[in-house]
Symmetry: C2
Subunit: 218 residues, 2 copies
């Protein structure tokens, strides 16, 4: 006999947990970590508070689970958007579109990662730092390969590549917040990605080809 038929109203645990995490992300994004209440999260999830504690243990564990889930979803969206065999500018363009499509579709998840998770100490800050490092790694590889393709006679110094990668990730983070906050007048993910592509690609391409800006008379 099929167990699902004998208990038709019982939801599988993974479905319940997903609903709890969805509710928690929404509440943490709006209220912040400290002000968020387990009562509100349980109510929004349509579950009893004891069940939330049974499945996800504590507010701290629940917040960690939210960060981990949202971070993994974002990095998967970026990686999944990029065809590793495409030219470098196309890879950057696709990666940016994947990033902004995801942050626009999941504004609460992005708010938890970018605004809430950073300043409530360990272990949350570490989880977000790990996500950021993954994004920086993706961009670092892209810049290194662009420089190699560009026939740059001397490779870009490691410190400079690291700085460029942090500049691009910081610009993308800033634009994700900017785009999500423009209520009613939000640009599409394609427009936001195009703005950043136009901003960043020329400089990266020039550096990859050994062309640098030099201050006049300095």
């Amino acid at each position: 006999m099929d167990a699902t038929q004998t208990r038709p109203k019982r939801m599988p645990r993974e479905v319940r947990e997903r609903q709890m995490l969805d509710a928690a992300v929404a509440v943490f994004a709006r209220r912040g970590y400290r002000a968020a209440s387990m009562d509100e999260i349980a109510e929004l999830a349509g579950a009893s508070k004891p069940l939330v504690y049974l499945y996800l243990h504590s507010k701290e564990d629940l917040f960690s689970a939210c960060i981990r889930r949202e971070a993994e979803a974002l990095i998967s969206a970026v990686r999944g958007a990029v065809d590793r065999g495409a030219p470098a500018d196309r890879r950057l363009w696709d990666g940016l579109r994947g990033f902004f499509a995801h942050t626009a579709a999941h504004p609460d998840g992005w708010a938890v990662l970018h605004c809430q998770a950073r300043t409530h100490g360990e272990p949350f800050a570490l989880e977000v730092a790990a996500l950021r490092q993954q994004l920086v790694d993706v961009v670092t590889r892209l810049i290194t390969e662009t420089a190699e393709d560009g026939g740059c006679t001397a490779p870009l110094p490691e410190t400079e590549v690291s700085g460029l990668a942090h500049a691009l990730v910081g610009a993308a983070e800033s634009l994700a917040g900017w785009s999500n906050e423009r209520d009613g007048a939000a640009p599409s993910e394609r427009e936001t990605a195009a703005t950043l592509m136009n901003f960043a690609w020329s400089g990266l391409e020039n550096l990859a080809n050994g062309r640098r800006w030099a201050p006049v008379g300095a």
Copy 2:
């Protein structure tokens, strides 16, 4: 008779307050707003706790005063570095050097502004948003003037200029943190500014001259 001569050991209030703010910025940067104790701040300032409360009223007021002072110092450093009559690339270069010189010289102040002040709700988040808006305004004006100088036949759309300004400010914020965290191997303010100048200037110049990146086959 001169009052300062009759009480030679009494420090002027503004000196005392400056010492208290210096100590508070250091403690808030290291411990975070919530974990910071007024005892530690008073001790580091070499003042009694009642005197700290007499002059600066509460931990909340003290944190606000720190944010305001550090924000004003940073925006002054950027504005003071820029010669309004210089060409656009020189103005950006000078502004970036002013920014990174200041964040490198005041890492605790930058940590308070960028990491601590953002997520403890009002009124702190508003103070930092006001600073960020001032930086965005400086960059917006620069981009608009660059486009005008560039002989761009059609002006850049307002949304795009706003996006570019947020991208540049986000990149600068990210690089300030990156540079300050590279203990022992921190690049100079000049190197960090050069990295961002090389990253950002080509794209801005191209846009100002009506040259855009276009995806192949898209």
